[in-house]
């Protein structure tokens, strides 16, 4: 096991170990729990940082890989490792962890011990989801994750916490058990074709061509089983109803983690499991998926617009933003995919920021109704500034992180599904509308008597906003390092999902070059063009080859 692998495992399991250690601290020592949990999270983050530098960006392989036998007779291995996609989300998790712990200091007034222990357990489970390279291991940590979240919402949540907690639990559980059946089905199919029992992710992904030869019904059922599990987690319309409940009832840290990380697991699942394992089945269902994603974008934004509760507003904005991510993923080209992954990262920075901002005023006034506020910018200037930046980041203002992601997604989507991209733009416009409207109603206008007594941010609060702000600006100004790291994995993914994509693209480029030199457009690449055609509806032979966007796939319209 190399040093980096050890670092990865240590950073992943440190929170769990720390949480177990905290069990032995006496109940009443609140400060110990607060400080220790932040310290453990920070330590885990610091341990995770070196991996960012050690990651080899030139390779699309799973790096820092480690595996050992776990249940040899079933082919289950304890297999971990990550590629650029996992790495980004994994780092996001270690990054959000300390913020979640730090923001709990003020609002967790009872049963601290259990709270911080659950928080730490949850952190390990989430980190493990992103590095799991074995379907069995993945399923286990995916389910384990539910239990701490159930308790976080159920014990420390708002008035409707019980309902919200059980709803979250059952929705997610119901989705994932169906995925388990799909996993079993592929597992036995694999045994039938290759004679080995194997749960490894690579093995499952290698099954894609075999699955593509099965009956259409089989493929569609597989795709649906995976789709349901992940769509509930994302959540996509119409499986989103648990989200507003969970967000509104959860304590601030719960919302931060829910928005920052848990929702990303759904999109991560699409990218890591559904697309590479069942590409043909997915393409078969693509119109439906697209429609749901698009409805999510617009419906989420419209519903957010009419919310009176700030947290609910931000929750519905998540539905809208993640719908956009889904569109990017379903574009099935590198731009859309990269944009979607990038937007997941951005959403994981700006939305936790917004939830934190809502949490701040909630701690002070114990209300989240927009109508109860107004004119806060007069008494809370620092708060107003930070809230502004987070809002701008969320609506995708250039120079902040959100812009890059949205632009890339739309670019990618436009190439594959132009009209969908056009329609999705309305979601972005609406997004700006509801966010700015909320900002205006909360920050400007006359200030009421109670609100004048509200204090501005203290040092602890600034501390947990600072990293979010810095990252938001950094990504906005210089996104290249983040883009680079997922270059190769995304290329590999697209290759898996659409084997003909790059061939068609290189053909298009040759044609473009040929046109530039002034040769007759069809001559040079003609021979190759015929080879590419049987698979590809992509390369449009009728074009003069001059258009750079010749990679537009026509299928599915």
């Amino acid at each position: 096991m190399s040093g980096s692998t050890q670092l990865m495992l240590l950073a992943t399991f440190l929170p769990l170990l720390g949480g177990l250690g905290l069990l032995f601290v006496p109940n009443e020592k609140r400060e110990v729990f607060q400080k220790a949990s932040v310290a453990i999270m920070v330590a885990s983050f610091l341990l995770s940082v070196p991996l960012w530098f050690q990651y080899d960006r030139g390779s699309d392989a799973v790096q820092f890989a480690y595996q050992c036998a776990w249940m040899p007779s079933l082919g289950v291995k304890f297999s971990v490792g990550m590629d650029g996609i996992s790495l980004l989300l994994w780092l996001l998790t270690t990054f959000i962890g300390p913020i979640g712990a730090l923001c709990s200091w003020g609002n967790i007034d009872e049963r601290w011990k259990e709270y911080y222990v659950w928080l730490l357990v949850l952190q390990t489970a989430m980190l493990a989801v992103f590095i799991a390279q074995d379907m069995f291991l993945f399923y286990i940590v995916w389910e384990v994750m539910l239990v701490p979240m159930y308790f976080l919402i159920g014990i420390w949540g708002g008035p409707q916490k019980l309902y919200a907690a059980i709803k979250l639990f059952l929705y997610t559980l119901a989705g994932s058990v169906l995925m388990l059946v799909a996993i079993f089905a592929i597992y036995f199919l694999q045994h039938k074709t290759s004679g080995v029992y194997d749960f490894s992710l690579a093995g499952f992904q290698a099954m894609a061509p075999v699955i593509a030869q099965q009956t259409k019904t089989f493929q569609i059922l597989l795709a649906l089983a995976f789709f349901l599990a992940f769509a509930i987690k994302v959540p996509m319309f119409p499986f989103h109803t648990w989200l507003p409940d969970a967000h509104v009832q959860a304590p601030t840290a719960g919302s931060v983690i829910l928005a920052g990380i848990l929702l990303k697991m759904g999109t991560y699942g699409f990218v890591r499991f559904l697309l590479p394992i069942v590409p043909e089945g997915t393409k078969e269902l693509m119109p439906w998926f697209l429609a749901l994603a698009l409805i999510g974008v617009i419906y989420g934004a419209l519903v957010a617009m009419i919310q009176k509760d700030m947290k609910k507003l931000v929750a519905y904005s998540s539905v809208s933003h993640l719908g956009l991510c889904m569109l990017g993923i379903f574009a099935l080209n590198p731009w859309g995919m990269k944009g979607a992954l990038f937007q997941m990262l951005n959403h994981g920075i700006s939305t936790p920021g917004l939830f934190l901002a809502v949490g701040i005023v909630y701690e002070r006034r114990h209300t989240r109704q927009i109508a109860d506020y107004g004119g806060l910018s007069k008494t809370m200037p620092i708060y107003a500034t930070i809230f502004m930046l987070m809002t701008m980041s969320s609506i995708g203002l250039p120079l902040l992180n959100g812009f890059i992601g949205e632009a890339t997604i739309l670019m990618g989507t436009f190439q594959t599904w132009p009209w969908v991209a056009v329609a999705a733009t309305s979601g972005i416009i609406l997004g700006a509308a509801y966010m700015l409207w909320m900002y205006q109603r909360v920050m400007f206008g006359p200030i009421s008597e109670v609100n004048t007594k509200m204090e501005d941010l203290n040092l602890r609060e600034i501390t947990y906003f600072a990293p979010l702000l810095i990252t938001a600006v950094w990504i906005g100004l210089y996104p290249k390092p983040f883009m680079d790291i997922m270059d190769k994995p995304v290329a590999k993914l697209i290759q898996q999902v659409r084997p003909d994509f790059y061939r068609a693209e290189s053909l298009a480029m040759k044609q473009a070059e040929a046109a530039k030199v002034g040769m007759h457009a069809m001559e040079a690449p003609e021979g190759e063009g015929h080879q590419a055609k049987p698979e590809g509806h992509e390369a449009k032979p009728e074009g003069h080859g001059a258009e750079t966007g010749a990679a537009t796939p026509g299928g599915g319209h």
């Binding site: 007779s73 079933l74 289950v76 399923y139 286990i140 014990i155 019980l162 559980l173 059946v181």
Partner: protein, 509 residues
């Protein structure tokens, strides 16, 4: 010319080594009942619960004897010892050991202790041991009756309580009825095969040769045996007795009924269907599939509405039986037995643990309604945590042991092509998470009902020890969950078959 008694002994001694555990149980029970209780131990008369320790000792000795019993077929091919027999016998004895431990006075589940209580547990256990090894329909019938008669009495043990009597009566009437059906089914099969044999292996060969005009006999015979057995494991639609009997019985007996007799009945199920009716052209999988699906659905859905924790666990046990029938359905008998056994093992531990918590609370004078669990996280942190572990495990949340049990079972079922049933099983197990978490909700999310209840109460050391032990077992099982399958791979469940590689094994191993 040998005397009659010498001849009897000579023939008996030929096979007697197969049933030493049973003999120990029966002799000990008889001695306890009469001479020991009235003559040798008069000073224990006032404190009958002292019998608990000797009973435990006897059961542990039986466990040892069972493990030491050699494999083989005896008593004119009516009783057989092989992996299936021993494996399920161990489960039954463990279940009985747990039941006796739960009956301790300090837990206060029973108002009075009489020697009969322990004697009946011992005799019932010996009935179960016979069931596990029964390879002849007659042995099956007799051993089931031996077990069931003891349980009928034990269910009605709290004779001053109306509901206990009612439960015993209900169970007895329905049980007698189902035994009749079972017996009738057996006689039909006996008639269909020409009235020659009731031995399962021979029956299997004969059934294959039955002429077409006797098909109806075979069909109804198989169906009636199925009904009789389903009644014993409380599978839907023959589950009517279960909630009432579970509710009315003394709680340690409820814990026992949910585990040990079920293990024995499942052993019979596996034996009868995977030996006796194996590879029949008469397709018994269809009714069994319906029964399995109905048990999962009805058990889990009905459990949602329950107010009493005992009834909740009763309905959930119906659902668990539904899952386990998936293993009986498996065409690969070896793997099916293995998966059922593993599931039963995990169920035994976690279910007993949950009942231990219920019994402890009852002894403290608290009710058995789910509402009574309010604020337990504050009042009894250890107890609540243990209950949390048991319930999550019952719900099959990974990585607890209950998940591994389900995982092996469902994996096998998908492999055998019962995908629809597995989908139902998984969806209903998601439903089951709802009612298990309902209890968790009461424990952790609700405040205690009374103000003074907010204090953390000290626990009795015995109860503390017992519950910690059960919880530890679940956690240890969790840690070794992945290895369980490998360990049981080596057991040859059905001795007769040539030892073949277990299903899950990698080629070349």
């Amino acid at each position: 010319m040998p005397s009659f008694s010498a001849g009897l002994w000579e023939n008996l001694s030929h096979d007697i080594h197969y049933i030493w555990p049973h003999i120990l149980l029966m002799v000990a029970a008889t001695l306890m009942l009469w001479p020991l209780d009235s003559w040798l131990m008069p000073w224990t008369k006032a404190e009958k619960h002292k019998w608990a320790l000797p009973t435990l000792a006897i059961l542990v000795a039986t466990l040892g004897l069972t493990l030491a019993t050699p494999n083989g077929l005896g008593f004119s091919a009516m009783y057989k010892v092989d992996g299936l027999t021993k494996g399920f016998q161990v489960l039954c004895i463990l279940g009985s050991i747990f039941a006796v431990m739960l009956s301790q006075n300090v837990l206060g589940a029973l108002q009075e202790h009489t020697v009969e209580y322990y004697v009946l547990i011992l005799l019932g256990t010996s009935g179960m041991l016979f069931m596990c090894g029964a390879v002849d329909l007659v042995t099956v019938y007799f051993s089931i009756e031996l077990m069931a008669l003891c349980i009928y009495i034990l269910v009605a043990y709290l004779r001053h309580q109306g509901r206990s009597i009612e439960a015993g009566m209900k169970y007895f009437l329905l049980g007698a009825f189902s035994s009749g059906i079972l017996l009738y089914g057996i006689s039909l099969l006996f008639a269909a095969t020409g009235g020659v044999t009731t031995n399962l292996t021979e029956l299997n060969q004969k059934l294959a040769l039955v002429s077409a005009d006797k098909n109806l006999l075979v069909y109804s015979g198989v169906l009636m045996v199925l009904v009789g057995l389903c009644f014993k494991v409380a599978a839907v639609p023959f589950h009517m007795w279960a909630p009432d009997a579970y509710d009315g019985a003394p709680t340690p007996i409820t814990a026992w009924m949910a585990t040990a007799p079920k293990a024995a009945s499942l052993a019979v199920f596996l034996r009868v269907f995977d030996t006796g009716f194996h590879n029949l052209s008469y397709d018994w999988t269809a009714p069994l599939m319906v029964i399995s699906a109905a048990s999962m659905i009805l058990g889990n859905v009905a459990a949602i509405r329950q107010q009493s924790i005992k009834r909740l666990l009763a309905y959930s046990s119906i659902a668990h039986v539904g899952y386990m029938l998936l293993g009986v359905l498996s065409k690969d008998a070896q793997a099916g037995a293995q998966a059922v056994w593993l599931y039963m093992l995990s169920y035994l531990v976690m279910n007993t643990g949950a009942f231990a918590v219920v019994i402890y609370l009852q002894g403290k004078g608290e009710g058995e309604r789910i509402d009574d669990f309010r604020g337990m996280g504050k009042r009894h942190p250890l107890l609540a945590f243990a209950m949390l572990i048991f319930l999550l495990s019952l719900a099959g949340i990974p990585p607890l042991i209950g998940f591994f049990g389900k995982f092996y079972l469902f994996l096998l079922a998908v492999q055998q092509g019962f995908t629809t049933l597995v989908v139902i099983a998984l969806l209903t197990s998601a439903v089951s998470a709802y009612y298990y978490l309902e209890v968790v909700k009461q424990m952790y999310f609700k405040e205690p009902a009374t103000e003074d209840g907010a204090e953390c109460e000290p626990m009795d050391p015995y109860a503390k020890w017992l519950i910690t032990a059960a919880c530890t077992l679940v956690i240890i099982g969790t840690a070794f969950g992945p290895q369980l399958l490998k360990w049981t791979d080596d057991i040859r469940w059905f001795e007769k078959e040539a030892p073949k590689a277990a299903v899950f094994e990698l080629p070349g191993k």
